[in-house]
Symmetry: C2
Subunit: 488 residues, 2 copies
């Protein structure tokens, strides 16, 4: 019985911080036996710090010496260790390290010597010291209520800072009321898919190339994804109108059986193809949304990283009532923050907030407050400026290395972002990816980013998608050499 010791008239309990079930008679022996059993059974893990003997003695209403004696017995037996300054702890034994579980849809770098998979920034350049300074300022000045359950949209401090930043840096039209903080792009997409499904939307247009985890999120909410054609000018939103004919007449029911109710696009920098949406097609997509009552979901995953001084503003600026803007700190800072943001049309805000609020997922407020401080102090701009220089240099080095060592291979797409597409001779993609893996170089083939319903005529030539942002600085030149060795 769990409560056997707790109901005994003497010592009563070991203090709620040390719940064990001693047996036998005599205080010292009972305590010693119970502790030993807890260690032996694994309930007290190696390295666990035990309460100070004085503290435990007060809790139990017994003499401190009794506790100290029990501890000493167990140190002598090897179950516990005692060291000045570190207290009494459970002795270390060799234990199995937790096995990492591969995340579905995410590639891990396990076993690779160099990792050039796309989609991750250089984690070694996360501005730890600046972030800690911002965290200190943010937490020191935060009101107490900030630590409560809060607004499902996220902290107002961060929404206000983001409204200013997104307007300034990305041409987004917004105000803090229409921003919703979420736990990264996936979370935002899930919330939006949920709302679209409730509105009766059945199909969502996506690009022919992208991440299957994004399509899976939409599928999970009950939506079907239909890939838009991709040609030499990039994604062609013209099909939206063709598909939409079935519902064009009934403006209240976009995305019925025949048409699509929304389109997920990455207009500034298509992932992974690396091209921006053509200006005419930007306009055409927004026109479609206006005419049919459809929505565009704008994935601006790396809009901050453009190296040729030709930034393209957010599509959202063309029509804030028909475009949902989605941004994230996963590329600009680190995925581990799990921080993203949506800028919503006024007509959608309440529904999304209610959907999010009913499950009560705000993200952690401390990181939200810290990011607001990071933005306000200019530290975010400084960090981006440095990161942009580093990534641009890597991209230049990649292009130069290709010219020298693999002249048959060239990088396509604009000078932007954290990845490049390397066009390969036809039929060589799979063998190059395999050759790279054999040499401990992780790199992705373009085919792994192709939507399964993509028409054969839209299937681009063989190519590699190289994430030059992924390796830390010290591994970059080695990774580049390894890449050149496996290229034809």
């Amino acid at each position: 019985m769990v409560d056997s010791w707790a109901t005994s008239p003497s010592g009563q309990a070991l203090g709620i911080d040390l719940h064990i079930e001693p047996t036998g008679s005599g205080l010292r022996k009972g305590l010693t036996d119970a502790l030993r059993e807890a260690v032996r059974g694994g309930r007290l893990a190696p390295g666990t710090r035990l309460p100070a003997s004085r503290t435990l003695a007060v809790d139990l209403g017994i003499a401190r010496n009794t506790v100290a004696d029990a501890y000493a017995d167990l140190v002598a037996e090897g179950w516990l260790t005692a060291r000045q300054g570190s207290g009494t702890r459970v002795a270390e034994r060799p234990v199995e390290a937790p096995r990492p579980t591969p995340t579905p849809g995410r590639r891990t770098s396990g076993g690779l010597h160099y990792d050039l998979h796309p989609g991750r920034p250089d984690l070694a350049s996360f501005p730890r010291s600046e972030w800690l300074k911002a965290a200190r300022r943010a937490l020191t000045s935060a009101p107490n209520e900030a630590l409560g359950y809060g607004d499902p949209r996220g902290r107002p401090e961060l929404r206000t800072s983001l409204a200013g930043y997104l307007a300034r840096a990305r041409g987004v039209h917004t105000d803090p009321d229409r921003i919703v903080i979420c736990a990264g792009f996936h979370h935002g997409l899930m919330l939006l898919g949920d709302v679209l499904r409730r509105r009766g939307v059945q199909n969502v247009a996506v690009e022919s190339y992208g991440l299957d985890v994004h399509w899976d999120v939409l599928t999970r909410t009950g939506l079907r994804t239909r890939p838009l054609p991709f040609d030499d000018l990039g994604t062609d939103p013209g099909a939206l109108d063709d598909w939409g004919t079935g519902t064009k007449g009934s403006a209240g029911q976009p995305g019925g059986a025949a048409g699509v109710g929304a389109a997920l696009l990455a207009p500034a920098h298509q992932f992974p193809m690396g091209v921006p949406l053509h200006p005419d097609r930007r306009a055409a997509a927004v026109d479609w949304a206006r005419r049919t009552g459809g929505l565009i979901l704008e994935d601006d995953y790396d809009g901050e990283f453009r190296y040729d001084r030709q930034p393209v503003g957010a599509l959202q600026g063309l029509d804030p009532d028909r475009v949902v803007y989605l941004g994230t700190a996963s590329k600009s800072l680190a995925p581990g923050l799990r921080l993203g943001w949506m800028v919503l049309p006024a007509s959608l805000t309440q529904e999304v907030v209610e959907s999010k609020g009913s499950i009560d997922w705000s993200c952690g407020v401390l990181d939200q407050l810290t990011l607001a401080e990071f933005l306000n102090s200019g530290a975010y701009d400084r960090h981006l400026r440095g990161a942009r220089l580093r990534y641009r240099r890597r991209r230049d080095q990649l292009v130069a290395a290709l010219a020298e060592h693999a002249p048959a291979v060239h990088a396509t797409g604009i000078a932007a972002g954290l990845h490049a597409v390397l066009q390969l001779p036809p039929g060589t993609e799979q063998s190059v990816v395999r050759a790279a893996a054999w040499q401990g170089l992780g790199v992705a083939g373009l085919s792994s980013f192709r939507h399964e319903d993509t028409a054969a005529s839209d299937a681009r030539a063989d190519a590699l998608v190289v994430g030059y942002g992924t390796p830390p600085d010290h591994a970059w030149s080695g990774a580049l050499d390894a890449l050149c060795r496996v290229l034809p």
Copy 2:
């Protein structure tokens, strides 16, 4: 056209951190006009800091003076402000503060002078300075890969620390592999509901009294909630067997049409009734789960707070294969952290991890690493010890004040947690709650925690649920006085 300036041959762009669309000819005038328009239109929000003139000039490839002149013009016009040390910023104008959106199912303290709603700890006692110290140690020593997408179960550092802590403090049997970090109790419950639904479970037993937001989470995943009877000994799990008769024979299909496949219980401290699950009923619930293949979801929301030296260990310890343990930092530290944890039976772990991983919600890693450090260093134990003393004192003061000022009202439930149930004379609950609201005192009636399907015979007498953890120290005695004034 968004890109008009970007495609002009000179300046090209304003640097990606300041996306504006200047018009007209002449560098200085074009820049000035574009900035003014951005401020006037609200795209550059008041307080937004502009890039240093030198930085912007380098980006544009123009003379620094041109930028400085444009800034100076706008300062003179009142659109910008310039102050030594603070840089050039958009001038403040009176703007609407963001309107707080009430969270469905969560009570806010808006407009209340004193807030005694239950469910929130004293946010003023969050250990800010200790937390920041732990954050610094944790982030300084974290490996780079910790900042990546990571394991959907959460950081191994935290899972290892929690395994040790939960074994020691709550008698939970676990290892780090079977712990999954989630964004609070709701998130964990949603993931579990999702997995149960996929397994074919249709009904989940809940207690007659609890939080409707929890029941709603289960309903959203497609499950039906059925309240268990509540009597003078607390929740009675006997009905589990009665309901389960339809499926008893078919062990493979728990929770079919007639029976329930899982039971959500708060065994250590029923919320809000404040009683522990009777020892016989603990055993009965576990027996039911073993016999039928059902699961018990153990909500251990405030197990750390027991003041009478009779801690009750986690039910999970009785059968780690049939009980899912759910804990949270929302009561012990702060809800704003959005950190909770599940300890799963081995047979359930993979499904829950896959369900969570496919949507890619880890929680922010920085708070996870910080909490691990907080646990390892003993700061968590120290914080809990202090919090327990404070809450216990408040509870004692509440009981004493009742005895003196409202002898007809007495607190029921064990000396534990952050709330007490005050039994009222029959028929007075609604009028007391209303009288409190008129006086600016927020307090909840017991009826608001009653499941809608609760049998009339299980409906307890009128009562108030008083959260004595909610007010900050300085407001506590005032809140207590206000409470005594409205009691009969």
